[in-house]
Symmetry: C2
């Protein structure tokens, strides 16, 4: 029997936008919206809210900013809810319209654990504008336990936060760690929705999401064909084929993979690649792997591995 | 702390040989042998033993037959043990030299569960020739429980069998099922070595191997860069980076991936592909997916999906 509380949030355009500076055409984003709607997905994360003082619209595509006028060209008010991510320090809630004037339903605030207080302040302001709010504590594999415990307690006590996400930014965790974190988040944040967002550096993004489900996590991030930064994410097609809720339909996702994502993957090369595997296995940020994948030296795997080990010697 | 009982068996040449009719050059197999030896891997499965009456050496490369003269050209007697697989009904133990005259250490007999009696007879004859023996019951996701229970009891009572493998041929299983099977195999076959061989249709090959480890499975199959039939296997590089035994060294594997496996994967296209995902999620043999991947229609994913669903309607 399926668990009706489970919701799938597809963040292809948001996390996948990190592959191409968010330069997806309106036509393409509209087709992703339609595919997700027809597949029965619950949420579509359509990009980031970012300050145009900090990021130039000449350099970044529209989904780095998520202006309501752009969203209105691709989405509609229906059972597929629109989510937008905001990084702490990179956008101003003053630029966000009230919920009643926007197609956006949900804001997810991404922060490192040191910035949870800032994330709480942002969610308070966004809740006051009428939005559903989540806090995504990034890079949880680098968090110290007492800081995490304190952050989770603060979030549990903040009435304006609707939910919290376990985020394995570096793609380092495996099942036993996911079990531990899921139990900690769920038992501490008893009144909150709890979600999971994984990366596929060690080919564990889907399995870690399953382990979250087993432990009671109900909000599941996926991206179509795994498109996302570096090694990419848990794939939406695997999630939908695993979940038993009859409302899900795999076919619209298969169709858009066929028409668009096979070619995009060949171009942007997200997914399991040895440099991402190396940073994941060493619990490191993928930035060095992303850089080397863009270089002619990308196949010098042992050289890359030695360089990452050498960084550790410097500590 | 690592578990010293854990052994890694790399079956790149054997399972990967299903991608190219076992046509690897002697030079390449020699370099794989050296890489595995230098990486500290415990076993190298070098191919199949097959009857030349049934399979033509014109059509298949040398690693379909594993003549001792071929093995002697690529391997040596050292800490890396040589394993050969034999399918029930496809080879004769009369063609196998005594252990004292061969570099082969181990025979693994592959069979469907209906043929366990035949596999037992073969292992008895191979044990009499001096070899370590395993039985790999294939396609376990299609086995009926009473048949599996009987087979495991028979194997436990057969003194000439050294070990048994859990084999997820269709890449269908996930963690909870791996836990169940691992506990069953280990508790029934108390005196035997227990191993696991996984396929990556649902991106769960590595995670399922980890779940086997957690439950006490000690013999772990991997292939370099996941090379194997269809979606391929648990990758040897992920296994070595996960296991804590200091004897393992990732670098020789990274080097040979760089020099050989990146290009081979582009040619043979094993790994996560939507047709393999579809057969895996439906618990079906991958043969229809392998056929469609070789055709011009390989991207007609929904058509392929509908055809697999329609097969079920016919039952």
């Amino acid at each position: 029997m399926f668990r009706p509380e489970i919701k799938v949030l597809d963040c292809t355009i948001r996390d996948g936008g990190l592959c191409n500076n968010h330069k997806f055409s309106h036509d393409f984003v509209r087709r992703v919206f339609q595919a997700l709607k027809n597949a029965g997905v619950d949420y579509m994360e359509i990009g980031y809210k970012s300050s145009k003082d900090q990021f130039s619209p000449d350099k970044f595509g529209p989904w780095k900013f998520c202006d309501d006028k752009d969203i209105e060209q691709v989405a509609e008010d229906c059972s597929l809810k629109i989510s937008v991510m905001g990084d702490v320090g990179r956008f101003s809630p003053a630029d966000v319209k009230p919920r009643s004037e926007s197609l956006v339903n949900t804001y997810r605030i991404a922060c490192y654990i040191k910035d949870v207080d800032k994330a709480l302040k942002l969610t308070e302001e966004l809740k006051a504008k009428g939005y559903e709010t989540f806090i995504n504590i990034m890079a949880i594999s680098h968090a110290l336990e007492p800081e995490l415990d304190e952050a989770l307690s603060q979030i549990e006590n903040a009435k304006y936060v609707d939910g919290i996400y376990i985020v394995d930014s570096f793609g380092y965790l495996y099942s036993e760690q996911i079990h531990y974190l899921s139990e900690k988040y769920i038992s501490t944040c008893k009144s909150k929705k709890v979600g999971i967002h994984t990366h596929n550096n060690l080919q564990l993004a889907f399995s870690n999401t399953i382990e979250g489900i087993i432990k009671g996590v109900n909000y599941l991030d996926g991206t179509i064909y795994g498109m996302g930064r570096g090694a990419g994410n848990c794939t939406t097609e695997l999630l939908l084929s695993f979940l038993k809720n009859p409302k899900f339909n795999l076919r619209p996702i298969l169709d858009i993979i066929s028409s668009d994502f096979i070619d995009m993957m060949a171009k942007y090369r997200w997914g399991y690649q040895i440099p991402y595997m190396i940073t994941g296995s060493l619990n490191k940020h993928p930035r060095s792997a992303i850089a080397v994948m863009d270089s002619k030296n990308w196949k010098n795997f042992t050289e890359f591995y030695e360089a990452r080990i050498a960084e550790e010697d410097l500590v």
